[in-house]
Symmetry: C3
Subunit: 127 residues, 3 copies
């Protein structure tokens, strides 16, 4: 499970970096808390962080359930794809939200495989 823990920590670190960028964007584009709208570029940084939160809440439990019923190494490899996909997602979304598809798919796909794999693994255990 060590590889899975490392992937977990890297995914959380990545999310914290996205959060720091939102804080910096508040200053640069003049969006004072508690506002979360008012400047298009700020909103892009904010949505990158929020969408990553929505992915993480599925990714992390799915990673561990998949690891439990299948291979932790395969889980960690799928997690590596997720990490790269999120970097692409963040970079493209900030430039142009319409070009976020590739990065989105490269995170949603490993997440879906981990989740469905974990579900099937658990159900097969019941027999």
């Amino acid at each position: 499970m060590t590889y899975v823990d490392i992937v977990t920590a890297l995914a959380l670190l990545q999310f914290m970096v996205f959060g720091f960028r939102v804080g910096k964007a508040r200053g640069r584009y003049g969006v004072a808390a508690p506002a979360i709208a008012g400047n298009e570029i700020f909103e892009r940084y904010f949505r990158v962080q929020q969408n990553t939160l929505e992915q993480l809440i599925v990714f992390l439990p799915a990673l561990y359930v998949f690891s439990h019923y299948y291979s932790p190494l395969v889980a960690a490899a799928l997690g590596a794809v997720y990490l790269i996909g999120r970097e692409i997602y963040a970079a493209t979304y900030v430039k142009d939200p319409k070009k976020r598809e590739l990065g989105y798919v490269l995170t949603a796909l490993p997440v879906a495989i981990l989740l469905l794999g974990g579900l099937v693994g658990a159900i097969r255990q019941l027999k």
Copy 2:
């Protein structure tokens, strides 16, 4: 813990479906990213997803802590109530946000029982 893992995977799958509906509502109601407001119906789909995220962050850890100190089977049964409650919540919220109470209670109640049960179980362990 197999039943608990299955409930976990189903709750995450449900959340992903709520997320896909937000994506579809973006197109149908003309709310392009990064905006998250501007059309009332889109905002309902968005709030269903966001509120489910707020529930999941409590539900999943509480499910496992409760399972650890009490019965995984009781935890999974409370999880089944959560799943049904969320379906009712999503269906009613999109029709009329004022009618979201029943679905909300049917998710918040099992979550509260899992959380407080887990807390009491852990504290009793200390003695």
Copy 3:
């Protein structure tokens, strides 16, 4: 791990309380669902809850990874700092968002220590 489970349950309970306050603020400041903006004070309560969600998604996994590679007792102590920091954050943010720094640092710092400690612990295990 009992102390870690207690800290987990307390952090989730704290988050649920922040959520109830958002619900009450909806009524008091006249912000009906699905809106999440329109009144500055309501938005402060809302942002306290949302920012706590963003912290929790990192805090909880980091707490367990750190516990696994180092001491659960040190993890729980860092978790206690997080809990106090969040209370300060919530109290100051609602009064004046500009004064949220201290509370923010007192949560982000233990979270960062747990996360980086857990990552280093896992990487050292690989050798």
